[in-house]
Symmetry: D2
Subunit: 337 residues, 4 copies
């Protein structure tokens, strides 16, 4: 090993603490030198657990630290854009959690700052690092099963997040489906048109802020491929994550993982295990791998695997889906961009 990349983490909540643990325990090519959270005691607890030498309250303190080469932003979504601008101005590379922002103008300002500073930016689209989705991508990309005709995604959460979070989340298309919007671009390419239907079928509280808990979409890609996506906030049997790319000479499907391989047979039938309940378990290896690759890109001066443009494009699709739902008509993506 040559050089270890020194990293600071901003935001040590759910995702930030996972990233911190991963860097310390599983990414020897990096060194976590400081953590930051406006809830200082939260940052301190993570630092204590992992033996991190520095804990700060104000993220500007990290920007002034010449030792730090890269910043991982895992604070709340509304802070991503201005932090990216500041971090870029400080000449440090950036790993930023998704979504970059809910507003496109904020994203554009941040990306402009990143571009001007010439720092690297990676967006936390963790699913691109899943071994099953990568395998599926490799099969489709190879052309061995012909050209993509129909992409099909089922993405259902096991349960609602808190109402407080939902109110500021950007709604189902910018929070939950944002991963699908990135995945479809990864698997098939650019989307041209989208139509979305949604409804409040499970939790009437969502009506208050005009969100939906269930949606279905169809998409047309620039290369002619068609797609369907369905989303739900509440799949009682666990986190339902399925993907198929049906092609002219075959099909490739990524099925759900399961908590165990145990099957119990009795008079009722054969009972198999549920999928892992939560995204933190289902995608645990991806959270390690995405940061490991980010670190590798810094060490080898390579482009990052998920770029600012990827981050922007998924948000554009989210807005297109909302516009389609609100106006009940198919929306061309170029209407949004």
């Amino acid at each position: 090993m040559t050089r270890r990349i020194k990293i600071g983490v901003i935001g040590t909540g759910r995702m930030g603490s996972v990233h911190s643990r991963n860097i310390v325990r599983q990414i020897p090519e990096a060194e976590l030198v400081a953590v930051c959270d406006i809830r200082l005691e939260v940052a301190q607890a993570v630092a204590d657990e992992l033996g991190i030498p520095r804990v700060v309250y104000d993220y500007h303190d990290l920007l002034n630290d010449p030792e730090i080469e890269a910043i991982l932003i895992a604070s709340s979504t509304d802070t991503h854009a201005f932090m990216m601008k500041d971090v870029a101005a400080a000449g440090k590379h950036i790993f930023c959690e998704k979504p970059l922002a809910l507003e496109l103008d904020k994203i554009d300002e941040a990306l402009a700052a990143v571009g001007k500073a010439g720092v690297k930016l990676q967006v936390g689209f963790n699913r691109r690092f899943d071994k099953s989705y990568q395998r599926l991508h490799a099969i489709v990309e190879s052309g061995q099963i012909g050209r993509p005709c129909i992409l099909r995604i089922t993405n259902r959460d096991p349960d609602f997040p808190s109402m407080d979070f939902l109110r500021v989340s950007g709604g189902i298309f910018l929070d939950l489906a944002i991963h699908d919007f990135d995945m479809v671009r990864y698997q098939v390419g650019e989307v041209e048109e989208i139509y979305a239907m949604g409804g409040v079928l499970v939790n009437p509280e969502l009506n208050e802020f005009h969100d939906v808990d269930t949606d279905v979409m169809v998409l047309r890609f620039a290369n002619g491929t068609l797609g369907t996506i369905d989303n739900s906030r509440k799949a009682v049997y666990g986190y339902d994550q399925r993907l198929e790319v049906f092609c002219s000479n075959g099909t490739a499907m990524a099925e759900n993982e399961a908590e165990t391989t145990v099957v119990k047979g009795n008079m009722d039938g054969f009972l198999a295990a549920k999928p892992p309940y939560f995204f933190m378990q289902r995608y645990a290896p991806c959270y390690v791998e995405e940061v490991r690759q980010f670190v590798q890109c810094l060490r080898d001066d390579l482009p990052t695997p998920t770029t600012g443009e990827d981050g922007r494009a998924a948000v554009v699709l989210g807005h297109a889906a909302w516009k389609s739902l609100r106006e009940n008509r198919p929306v061309k993506i170029r209407e949004i961009c």
Copy 2:
């Protein structure tokens, strides 16, 4: 056994010969007394094979036969409507293959004649008699997994029918997807709105007559449930027939059947068998069961399980899908009816 229902079959092509064999060999409650085909030699071959006493060229001959109680219509689609009218006028019960007709006015005329004559009519929506779809229906109907939220259908043919057939088939929504339109009504209920995208992704010949070989649709049901359907004319791995009804407290999925249960493991992985290649194999037991139930309804004077209204409703959905595709907008079903 009390009384055997005496049946005549009109049309002894692909479906008609299957129905004829089924009646003779597997439905002892019925008796196939005559077959009719404008290609007399085709009808004669079926009669020879099955020991059927009477073969006619003109279907009116069956209508004048007082012995015959019921007529099974399996001739080409464009003949269904006027034959139904004639058969009804002759006071005989009717089993008619799907679709009843491609044009709604013809269907309405035929249904009016059936209603006036007071004869029974069953439409050949064979999939309603599949044990897996029936089991799925029973699970959803029972309420044990809550209310339906998302219905998802994948229906893909193994290969294109002849171009000659396709030209007069009514296109993908009235030929292939017609089964899905009946299935969604069976599983969830009435559809309120539909949006369809389609494309010619595999066989450019279809452009000549403005059909598509691939489509995706989303639907909204009167009860709020949302749905997605995807169709293709060419799934090289065989007839792909999948159905899911995702509900507020669980999900119920009908997966593909397989030609054998054999799995071969080697350095490439584990290779499982394809689904049965063709609808005649996949749904073979349904073709027996639907006619068996039709016969039972005649014997016990019960309503038929798939009615003329079912036959009409599926065609309405097909037209709505075409209208949506042509005008690139969501279409309310009441715009068609």
Copy 3:
């Protein structure tokens, strides 16, 4: 079609009535001209159902009928051997249900009579006609996955037959496992040595007549392949039929079939359907196919696919298993022959 083979059936109980229905309804190359049962009313009921012209009480009446070319013996096991002798002497071909007899000397006498008369004999080892086992056999036979190393069979009945039947059945190795003993020879070849353990783990009534309800066996084949078999009289989840041939370059497995393809997901997990409950459902197509092939062999003067030697060999293995269990030692097959 040229000539229809005229068949008489002796024994119209469970298997005999299935065979009778199959011949009449699904094997047009044959004609069922007479049925025989010592319970004349049972035979009469089958004849009425199927429109069979002749019903007899004494099977000798069939032997004297010059029209009848072949006899299907489906009476109780203790009658098979002497009937075969009589039928052979009458110069008629024989399809005989398994086992040919429980005693080897009786089998030898019957086979000698068959050989002397020069008639064809087929034994009812239905499982050889299962499409999954045939596919597995084809894979192994082709050599594409190397040489067989380990054969593994799980064969478990859903529930106990009647105690009356069990008392005269020959016990678990000659009744239940007899199918496995034929299957191992079909898939891998001749067995050289066997060791069996058994126990009464479920139903203590079996102790009365020294049978067991559960057993496990290991086998060594002449070609060096090793095997394991496990059997139970009571698998509450249904008829459990699994087979694997593990080879030097891969493996081939035949898994259980399922009643439906429906999977229900809820908080308990994913529940799939049980296998078909009973052998009559699981192997229904095999019962047709074995007799169809028998008829074809008569029409084309070909050797039968399952011979008298196959019938004898399976019984030899059953006796070897019993000897092994009784003496608690491995038994060489040549000790029995």
Copy 4:
């Protein structure tokens, strides 16, 4: 967290380096203070990678270190027994890789020393810590599917280890099947009698030292349950790990895991991924969990989950299997003990 357990690792080869990494990165309740290997450079490399302060050549140096509370022995099998004696005499707790030794007298001496010293001993039967086998155990233990009737294990390696290793490994029953012998005791209880067949079906080199590459066994348990095991050194499709406990009211099966969830469908069928190729991948989480629990037992002064008696019992079964194979007869376990 209260106290961290200070551990020294003896042997930093394949398993020792895995354990070292796990302790450092994933078991914060422990601290790896020293590593030892007679190949000092190997130990040094591991220490460098993980930042371990002390590296020694002679394991006695660890025994004299008062700071060290526990020793993890991962050196070659022939050193386990005498090291255990020394470590016990030094009053330190022991985690020892399997098998404890190939010879029972050496095991007995070591266990006596452990008992006399009153230190804790855990044996590295990693599979007991697999979530699927634990779930299966919980199902069976609960009694919800009745009493165990048939246990069935398939345990096949993906390929041969080096011939050098095989020569001193104790052969297939003491090396490969030793895991099965522990697993059967974990799932069902004590074994009473065993019969084994084996053969050299793949690699004739094994004939030199009288080992086999393929075996099948049957077992009788003290509680009457019967069992089958099959083993191979070469399953080209990957590490094959299957386990079933069939019970009087149902069955519980642990199936193979798969490298990905991707299924590719084309004209050949549906191709699913192979199982993880190697035990280090398949059981990776178990290696962490077993040491984590060992550490927990030291911290809370609890009995270890896999004891010296477990370690001995598995070796006894291995010797019984060899005796059975050599003498071609069933062997009672009490003949060995």
